[in-house]
């Protein structure tokens, strides 16, 4: 395999950046990645143990904390294995070679005669000694060479292939979350978040608040109000009381219908990619526009954090996706040096992107500043989670395709209009933490520049279809003036863009009487995607037969970001009272799959979440804030609505790993949308595809 230098290795070139040996001769490896529930700790441990030749239970992995591990940026975008894992492999390969060299000189033989397996040095298959005996001679100051020779695919996965998630049992029966941290003398904090981040506090009876049960102290700084209490229950109850009793001045910037607002924009588009003149041929053009509303990340556990100040130094335990970026943002808010702040990752509920984790960390830090030396735990309420956390961005995409006389698409033109998809801490150079806006020394967020193309783009992610369509042009128009807060939600713009593009391809195939899958296959860019779609075709033939009037099928395909994992999804639906997804068959290719079952789990999760987005989810607003108070106002998919899933993975052990967590959302949404179109004969172009949307669409088509 050709060895490229992964970026983290350029920033952290020394062996000691990636591992240490404890006095007990245990190997501890460092990763700047964090476990978000996607199973990446297990996959990274597998990569280390495979590369070194040691049982995973004999080593440990320290995930991101600012005082210990490399800064690998945000754990996001399906990049943990691609960058983080490949960096660790190079570090471990360097370690392995050192161990073999040291052992060789001890034995007076050539290193090439030795092997390392199950933590033992072997000479021609015979045991010499345990690697423990030479670990104290490892030179941690040595550099990891740019061409560190990692194992060949044929040498891999001889052992330790079927590893269970190392953290699953504790998550099922124990208390591993930041929510569960408890310390002697700990206090419990709760912020009083207004409906909108830009609201100003007009009136609150602070004295009455300070007399609520369990309240130790009320903290007020500008429009930030929070309570410190003796228990989480009292903190939450006091904050709820304060929220109901307080008066706020709202900003004068109501947007009643975010999608109409997006559609009514007229400022210029920016061309973000263009591979030729899309208008060079005259001929028939087809067009489709699809929009998606704001949607919630919807973590089951609300945002939480623990913070403690001691001698002007702050320590924060958080489930943030980027501990270094959070540290820098906090340093900006408290106007202190970054070295005065330590941020340590601790497990949280699944986040699916940038949720309230970072905001809760600032809330905890503001409150803890009032009680020197005492740890303060903040757990947001469900109200906070539905009102204060960033949401997935609303957007609308219009695609046009040119069809030539031979029935091939020969030009493709996409216009994406969207709220920016990222406002993470540090984006645009500002902290972007909610309470940073509320405090007296207010730090307002900069206009988000969205995610740059080099990181896969934000709104325009996957606007370029994954097919050979001739010239493709993508234009983007960002809309900044909505009063709502949006940030990265799994797959960013790819979800809507894939739904539009795959929908348009379907429309064209239907109108030309071609099988939608065959039509896609004839436009494939390479054998890899063709194999994927052919496999999907052969696995789903039986699901296309004997369909009832109310049933339909649809497919969706995309290669995530154009260069990452490939995923094709087929679904069957029945449209009756609403839409029921009956069967899902998916075929994916993520290159080398470290943990094939872990990859499947991620793909299945992406499909199910995407079905939920597509059929059910839209954040209701009053033009200023959300009006969602509980899960009753924002239904998500339930157990009884889960289709049968057949998840097929094409393993390519000699290819680079491509990442998995965000490859299926777009294709799954597209497959559902296309299947509903197939069943109904009408396409729903404003997501979600609820019963109401179907009725409205049928009525307007009858007229």
């Amino acid at each position: 395999m050709k060895n490229q230098v992964p970026k983290p290795l350029l920033d952290y070139p020394k062996l000691g950046d990636w591992l240490k040996v404890t006095p007990e001769k245990k190997l501890v490896f460092f990763s700047g990645r964090v476990e978000l529930g996607q199973g990446n700790i297990t996959a990274l441990l597998m990569m280390i143990s495979d590369e070194l030749g040691i049982e995973p239970e004999k080593i440990s992995l320290q995930t991101a904390r600012t005082d210990m591990t490399p800064n690998e940026g945000f754990t996001a975008g399906s990049m943990s294995i691609v960058h983080g894992g490949q960096s660790l492999r190079s570090a471990v390969a360097t370690l392995r070679q050192q161990i073999l060299n040291i052992s060789a000189s001890r034995l007076g033989v050539d290193a090439i005669e030795l092997d390392l397996s199950s933590g033992q040095i072997l000479q021609k298959g015979s045991f010499c000694f345990s690697i423990d005996e030479v670990l104290d001679q490892i030179d941690l100051s040595s550099e990891i060479p740019a061409g560190a020779k990692i194992k060949e695919p044929s040498q891999r996965w001889v052992q330790f292939r079927e590893i269970d998630r190392v953290d699953l049992v504790e998550r099922m029966t124990g208390a591993p979350f930041v929510h569960d941290m408890i310390e002697e003398g700990m206090l419990f904090g709760a912020p009083v978040h207004p409906a909108n981040m830009y609201s100003k506090l007009l009136n609150l009876d602070v004295i009455a608040l300070s007399k609520r049960p369990g309240v130790i102290k009320v903290v007020q700084d500008g429009s930030f109000v929070g309570v410190l209490a003796t228990s989480q229950r009292f903190a939450l109850e006091a904050a709820e009381w304060a929220r109901e009793k307080s008066e706020w001045k709202e900003i004068d910037r109501k947007i009643e219908n975010p999608i109409s607002h997006l559609m009514s924009q007229s400022h210029d588009f920016e061309i973000v990619s263009e591979t030729g003149d899309v208008n060079k041929n005259s001929g028939e053009w087809y067009e489709l526009t699809v929009s998606r509303p704001y949607i919630f990340h919807g973590s089951i556990g609300p945002a939480a954090a623990v913070a403690k100040w001691e001698n002007e130094k702050l320590t924060v335990w958080t489930h943030s996706q980027g501990v270094f970026q959070l540290r820098d943002a906090l340093a900006g808010v408290f106007e202190t040096a970054e070295e005065n702040i330590t941020v340590i990752h601790k497990a949280g509920s699944g986040c699916y992107g940038h949720n309230g984790a970072d905001d809760a960390a600032l809330d905890a830090a503001i409150l803890a500043k009032e009680v020197e030396g005492i740890p303060v735990k903040v757990v947001w309420s469900r109200y906070d989670e539905f009102h204060a956390a960033p949401m997935g961005a609303a957007m609308s995409t219009k695609s046009r395709a040119h069809l030539d006389q031979d029935g091939y698409i020969t030009a493709f033109d996409v216009e994406v209009t969207s709220v920016p998809h990222s406002s993470r801490p540090g984006t645009g150079g500002t902290p972007n933490l909610r309470s940073a806006v509320l405090i007296k020394n207010s730090k307002l967020p900069a206009k988000s520049p969205d995610v740059p193309a080099i990181r896969g783009g934000g709104a325009e992610r996957n606007a370029v279809p994954s097919y050979e369509f001739g010239p493709v042009r993508v234009k983007k128009r960002l809309v900044h003036d909505l009063p709502f807060r949006a940030s990265a939600l799994r797959s960013l713009g790819a979800y809507n863009n894939v739904i539009v593009n795959e929908g348009l391809i379907d429309e064209i195939a239907h109108r030309n009487g071609e099988d939608p899958l065959a039509f896609r296959i004839k436009h494939c860019v390479d054998d890899r995607s063709k194999e994927l779609l052919l496999r999907l075709d052969s696995e789903t033939k039986r699901y296309k037969e004997n369909l009832k009037e109310s049933q339909g099928w649809g497919v969706g395909y995309a290669r995530y970001k154009g260069i990452s994992g490939l995923c094709a999804v087929f679904v069957n639906v029945t449209v009756d009272e609403g839409v029921v997804v009956d069967n899902v068959v998916s075929v994916s290719d993520v290159g080398e799959a470290i943990s094939p079952d872990g990859v499947k789990n991620q793909i299945e999760g992406g499909i199910v979440q995407s079905i939920s987005w597509t059929l059910k989810e839209a954040v209701k607003t009053d033009g200023l804030s959300t009006t969602v108070d509980s899960w009753f106002d924002y239904p998500i998919i339930k157990f009884s609505e889960i289709p049968s899933l057949n998840t097929i993975l094409i393993e390519r052990p000699s290819e680079k790993p491509l990442g998995a967590a965000e490859i299926s959302q777009g294709p799954a949404g597209a497959a559902v949308s296309n299947a509903v179109r197939h069943a109904l004969g009408v396409r729903i172009t404003e997501l979600p595809i609820t019963r109401e949307a179907i009725i409205n669409s049928l009525l307007s088509n009858e007229i």
Binding site: L168, M172, G301, V608
Partner: protein, 159 residues
Amino acid sequence: MQSELRCTINGVVHAIDGFSSEPLLFFLRDKIGLRSTRYGCGQGTCGSCTVIIDGEAKMSCETITKDVSGKTIETAEVFENQHEHPLVKSFIEFQAGQCGYCLPGILMASKSLLDKKQNLSRLEIAEALDANLCRCGAHSRILDAIEKAHQLSNEKGTQ
């Protein structure tokens, strides 16, 4: 002197404050230290705080602690050292979960169900779990695991 109220939690007897309106969720987490019972919404809408009270799955955020006087409560900690229990075994076998925040509640809801009923279909199991939300999309594996555990307990029951 006030007669002391008691309940039994995972086999251990605990005293209860008879005047408190504290939800059971916080009593379990903060007073008893059983923190697998999780706060998700505090509104009885997500199921992550589900525990078993006298055999029935109940959301502990909606249960007032003094109302469990004389009752028997089980939380997911009962499984801590019981990895051979059909449910735990099956959840591990199917790697049924991702972030795991919802899992203790789901384990409790399904334990109550399987302890009470036999010969359940997959749909019946799914419907019984509709009050428990999972956001990671691990539902299918969770249902696989519960079905398998149900099968194992049925086999055991008919021996």
